[in-house]
Amino acid sequence: MSLPGWKQLPIGAVILTPGSSVEYKTGEWRTLRPEIDQEKCIRCRTCWMYCPEGAIQEVEEPYKTKTGREFKLTYKVDYDYCKGCGICANECPVKAITMVEEVI
């Protein structure tokens, strides 16, 4: 990708397009990725609340565990913005989230 040169960039680094921060995929910073074990997850929403990036998504996707427990919701990680801080894994009451090393 070729980035704009200093002559093309707005004066003083002003960002002229509102709401454009979504284009900045902060997930690139991550060195560890959280992986949610849907079998263990009890859908308590704790990770969703604690994530500083709003990177935990609550999706209306039904899930049935091997033991037959049925959930209407599934929690997923938005890897575009998850920066890998591990707070979700730390807070999860049933240790359903594992931090796995990112390998490029």
């Binding site: 004066i11 003083g12 680094a13």
Partner: protein, 395 residues
């Protein structure tokens, strides 16, 4: 001809700020600057100036608030010196790299320690990498005029950089001189409020001061380099126009008896008056000495200086601030020596350090400097002193 008032430098500056119809003043008192903002607060209280006068709790806040004010498009002013300027330091860089115009006056004062409220240039020089345009006056009239020049240059869309104007603490700030003041209409017509920069506006949202990661930061440094370079052209246009309107002509440098000079003293600020008086005296005795005062410090007028000194054998550069551990001794010497070298000139230099912490410069001190220059003028570069010479310090 406008009205002539007897004004100390601080009051002169306050009158100029009022004439420029500033919208926001952020004020934190510090000697010897205090009477600038004190006088401005009176103007606001009297209804002579319609501006927000903000009493803040520190100089750090004074400049933080100024950044916010300039960001919404206000014509903004503040003044400080010494430790106050040191406390503003991180914000100085933010203001210039966000490219917000304002005018800040430094009433030059020594930096602690020991605690010293008197005049030298160590505060001014400590911010010479901060991306601000920097001027230093040598009279109260010039301190007044710098405010008008400052707003005109800062808000020019080709520049968009904040401007530091300055004067020597006490020697100018508290000494009364006749100062010609212009009418508010004349000031605004010379330095119209241009709002030529992108501002914060709820109807047209923008983001200012974002993160600049390694793939962007460098480009904005490069941008500022260009703006600073461009500002020199704008400074020349502004001083030209100023001379047409008000009859006073300023240049990036002021030269004195350099045409046939063999040796010369280069310096800044009010001490140059003493130097010029000595030059007059020495000339009567047939000594071929001249002087050069640097008015515009950033962007540094290297080419002008080299041109003016091209026929001088040996130049003594007088610094009123110390760069401990440097080869040059002081900031001005460093710049001047580089300017001469880049121009491919043979002109040699010696650094003098004088007037630190309010130590006055006597005629005898100047004589001592000129004698050093005369003694060394025909020596080779290798024979010159390798360290600056301290003038007026007790051994």
């Amino acid at each position: 001809m406008g009205k002539v008032l007897p004004l100390g430098g601080n009051y002169a500056v306050a009158y100029a700020v009022k004439a420029c119809d500033v919208d926001v003043i952020t004020a934190y008192p510090i000697s010897p600057q205090t009477t600038i903002v004190e006088r401005l607060s009176e103007f606001v209280a009297n209804g002579e100036l319609n501006a927000e006068f903000l009493h803040v709790e520190s100089e750090h806040t004074a400049l933080s608030v100024a950044i916010g004010a300039a960001a919404v498009g206000a014509r903004t002013y503040s003044a400080t010196c010494s430790q106050g300027l040191a406390l503003m330091n991180e914000l100085l860089y933010i203001m210039s790299y966000i490219r917000l115009p304002m005018v800040l006056t430094i009433v030059n004062r020594a930096l602690s320690a020991p605690i010293n409220i008197w005049n030298d240039h160590s505060d001014f020089m400590s911010v010479n990498d901060s991306g601000w345009i920097m001027m230093m006056s040598a009279s109260n009239q010039e301190a007044y005029d710098e405010i008008l020049l400052g707003y005109r240059i800062a808000e020019d869309p080709r520049v968009l950089l904040p401007v530091i104007t300055s004067m020597d603490g006490y020697i100018q700030s508290h000494v009364v001189e006749p100062v010609e003041i212009v009418s508010d209409e004349e000031a605004i017509s010379f330095a119209p409020k241009r709002r030529s920069w992108v501002t914060l506006d709820p109807d047209k949202p923008v983001t200012m001061g974002p993160v600049g990661d390694p793939s962007y930061y460098f480009e904005f440094r490069r941008q500022l380099w260009e703006a600073m370079k461009e500002s020199r052209k704008v400074f020349d246009e502004a001083t030209e126009e100023f001379a047409k309107r008000f009859g006073r002509k300023y240049s990036a440098i002021e030269t004195y008896m350099l045409e046939d000079a063999e040796v010369a003293i280069v310096g800044m600020g009010s001490f140059m008056g003493t130097i010029k008086a000595f030059v007059d005296r020495a000339r009567r005795d047939g000594v071929k000495v001249g002087a050069l005062r640097v008015k515009l410090y950033r962007p540094f007028p290297s080419e002008d200086i080299a041109r003016a000194l091209s026929n001088v054998k040996l130049v003594g550069v007088m610094d009123r601030a110390l760069m401990p551990g440097s080869a040059a001794g002081g900031h001005l010497h460093h710049e001047v020596a580089f300017a001469l070298r880049q121009a491919g000139l043979e002109t040699k230099t010696i650094g003098f350090i004088a007037g630190l912490g309010g130590r006055l410069l006597t005629m005898d001190n100047v004589k001592q400097m000129v004698n050093v220059l005369i003694n060394y003028k025909d020596k080779t570069v290798k024979e010159l002193p390798k360290e600056p010479i301290f003038i007026g310090v007790r051994e």
